[in-house]
């Protein structure tokens, strides 16, 4: 019985959808000015369009050769220099992992359980995620479909309990904001599109209609973010600016019947989504490591990546200056643009030029 890796389009985009939503659920003072949350609403349509445009180079590169990942394309197009592409992507995935893990660490150690050691927390998360990555992309994608159902049920439940608390007076006119503010919010939104570089690595394993999947993923991601903003702002109003994790605050004041608060549900949703995201990105990081070091690293790459994530995130959480760089929006935007747009575009251009030159050369002969 032959074993091949195969993931359906819906499974891939469910994974990426969860990763995207979790990125927004964790919206906090560490990464942005939470009082500007309502401002993000105005930038949603623009962010959606830019996100769709950002996926074009990755999609076009995939269309050129449906069996090659973006790192494979790097080696194909640049020869030996291709390892630079793999290193850049590896570093980017490591950065996303550290970002996600550190934010979770800050949440648990600041709000939930201040007595717990950040290292133990990271260790537990990394061990679980390494196991997920070890089981492979098929297992993660299948698990993500079940996690999505659980997350949706939990979110719908929370929304239903929060709707009576929404106060329409909390909504101020969205488009009264200046163009500069909207652009800043847009940059913040698109900077968190780590799903696009991930697509570059995963599309070759996918069966189905990718174009439709990308459109639906982008649309539902932003729709969901919009609904979350509406809900949080509607419930908290100006009170939002005093909260470290506004989403957490909202769920902690939600209640239904004998259940007087629902922050446990929120915590569950975050942890499940974070597990999927970290497992997925450790898997992607290990793909880059394998591409750089070859078969030598194939057996230990996931374990190695887990140790790397644990080490870097532990160091980051104790260095305030590192935290500042990690959560800097501009750094986030540039890294996402380089790995999600510029590099794929560069590879695509070189590939097309080489193809053209090759065709002309053949014609001459």
């Amino acid at each position: 019985m032959k074993k091949t890796i195969s993931v359906s389009v819906s499974q891939l985009f469910i994974m990426l959808f969860l990763s995207r939503i979790i990125a927004y659920v964790t919206f906090s003072t560490y990464i942005a000015d939470v009082s500007q949350m309502w401002g993000n609403m105005a930038s949603l349509p623009l962010s959606l369009i830019i996100t769709l445009l950002m996926t074009v180079p990755v999609y076009m590169l995939y269309k050129q050769d449906k069996k090659r990942t973006i790192t494979d394309n790097g080696y194909e197009v640049l020869g030996r220099l291709g390892f630079v592409v793999a290193v850049v992507y590896g570093l980017y995935f490591l950065w996303v992992l550290v970002y996600t893990l550190t934010l979770f660490n800050l949440f648990v150690t600041n709000l939930l359980n201040p007595t717990i050691s950040a290292f133990v927390l990271s260790l537990a998360v990394v061990i679980a995620a390494v196991y997920g990555a070890y089981k492979g992309i098929e297992a993660i994608s299948r698990a993500s479909t079940i996690v999505l159902v659980i997350v949706l049920v939990a979110v719908i439940f929370m929304v239903c309990t929060l709707l009576p608390r929404v106060d329409s007076l909390n909504y101020t006119p969205v488009f009264l904001r200046s163009g500069g503010d909207i652009w800043q919010s847009t940059l913040f939104m698109i900077g968190r599109n780590s799903a696009i570089p991930a697509m570059g690595m995963l599309l070759p394993f996918v069966n189905g209609r990718v174009k439709k999947g990308i459109c639906l993923w982008a649309f539902f991601s932003y729709l969901c973010i919009g609904l979350l903003i509406l809900l949080i702002v509607g419930v908290l109003g100006d009170y939002i600016s005093t909260q470290v994790f506004p989403m957490y605050t909202v769920t902690s004041i939600a209640g239904v019947g004998v259940l007087e608060r629902l922050d446990g549900v929120f915590l569950g949703v975050w942890t499940a989504g974070m597990f999927i995201k970290i497992s997925l990105f450790i898997y992607l990081l290990s793909m880059c490591v394998k591409r750089i070091f070859g078969d030598l690293a194939s057996r230990v790459s996931i374990l190695l990546c887990g140790a790397l994530v644990l080490g870097v995130s532990t160091l980051t959480s104790v260095q305030d200056s590192w935290l500042g760089i990690l959560f800097n929006s501009n750094v986030t935007v540039w890294l996402t643009l380089i790995t999600g747009v510029l590099l794929p575009l560069l590879l695509l251009c070189i590939r097309l030029i080489k193809k053209k030159v090759g065709a002309r050369h053949e014609k001459d002969i």
Partner: protein
Amino acid sequence: MIEKFMNAFVPDKKKPVEKLPERKLEKSLDKNIEYMKLLFDGSADFTVKYVNTANARCAVLTMEGMVNKETLAVSVINPIVQSVYPIIYGSEFLRYLEKNVLSASEQVEIETVDKVLTLIMSGFAVLLVDKCSVGLAVGVQGFSFRSVSEPETEVVQKGSREGFVEPLRINMSLLRRRIKNPRMKFETLTIGTVSKTDICLCYLNDIVSQDILQELKKRLSCVDIDTVLASGYLVPYLQEENDHSLFSTVGSSERPDTVCGKINEGRIAILMDGTPLALIVPYLFVESFQTMEDYSNRPYFATFTRWLKYLAFVVSMLAPGIYVAVATFNPELFPVQILTRVVTSIGDTPFSITTEVLLIHFVYEIMREAGLRLPRPLGHAVSIIGGLVIGETAVNAGLIGAPTLMVVALTAISSYVIPNLYPPIAILRLLFIVAGGFFGIWGIVLLFCVVLVNVCSKKSFNVPFMSPIAPFSMFGMRDVLIRAGWRTLAKKRNLVGKQKSD
């Protein structure tokens, strides 16, 4: 090193078992008998009955207690002694006996010593003739066995009361009676180098996936155990390589009607001589929640009971862990009225909530094991003493809290709703308690995700273990989310694996 340790639990399935060269029967009757006696080394149940005819000396080899003596006399010995023969010798004489003298319906010619041994130990009488290197096995089995009765572990209210018994042939007949179709195929194999246990693969030839069938045969050929005494011995060989999961990808049933239902979906049943249980492959996670009764009840009620089972599964696995996590780290999540009671009970007992739950769980598991192995009347006594006396007095003595006891009791009852999943649930429950006690809710969610990835990564004969949930199939949901009516289910069968026509 960890991999090595884990692999100790999993058999090596790569090498097919090598067979020793077979020894042929000799022409001399005395030499053959002498060799058999040497092999049995004076074993008390090996018997040789010499029968002399005008044409040749014959011997009938049997095992005491395995044959019906009356049938042996009437259909083998008497006809040989009383017949008049033409002048023929050796193999010609044996063939004459086979065609004209012996009246038993089951007769097999054998040429090797191994085959002689296997057949006499399966209840056949083997007839050897002097100056003939071929023997004749005659079916005169007559050992005693338990009669067909209701299976104790899969009781139904509406349905057949028949369960499998130990003899393989009877179990085969129980299946054949339910599927009277020539496409239903029985294929017998022998497993165990010492026990030489008969097993039988049962499947519907036209709908079974040939890939799965070939893979099953390949895996069975790799079974290198000397003695196979129960079907459980085969399970590790039928699972995927390096399968360290708590959940089994091989199903089992004591009910012929359940097994026929599975065969009708393209699955393969494996019957084993001496075991009143059929193994079923491929086996999916959702099948643990499906029972024969579901298909006898009205769809709305079957759907309701199925959802009850899903709920019971979640409660039995997660309830104590969540209770510990919330009580330890997030007591504010309890409603106020419950919170006061929980806090009072925690304050009144000497142990931490995690220790308390673990302790009660271990006591409960001990009582369960004790009740299971004891004779039934004693088992009931253990349950009463354990459940009522120990529980009640422990709460009164202030050793454990009443809410904790109630949570564990609810969990215990819930886990019996899905008996097939009891082993993984029992282990996972403990792990969730530990995770909840050390890390709180996020620890539980994290462990849940790990378990989820584990089950999602599993395959049973290349069929995803979690299908039709993940990968999702809307068609499969008619027997998972709901139990659709028979008119819907009968329109198109839910076949498992890739069929010939695909």
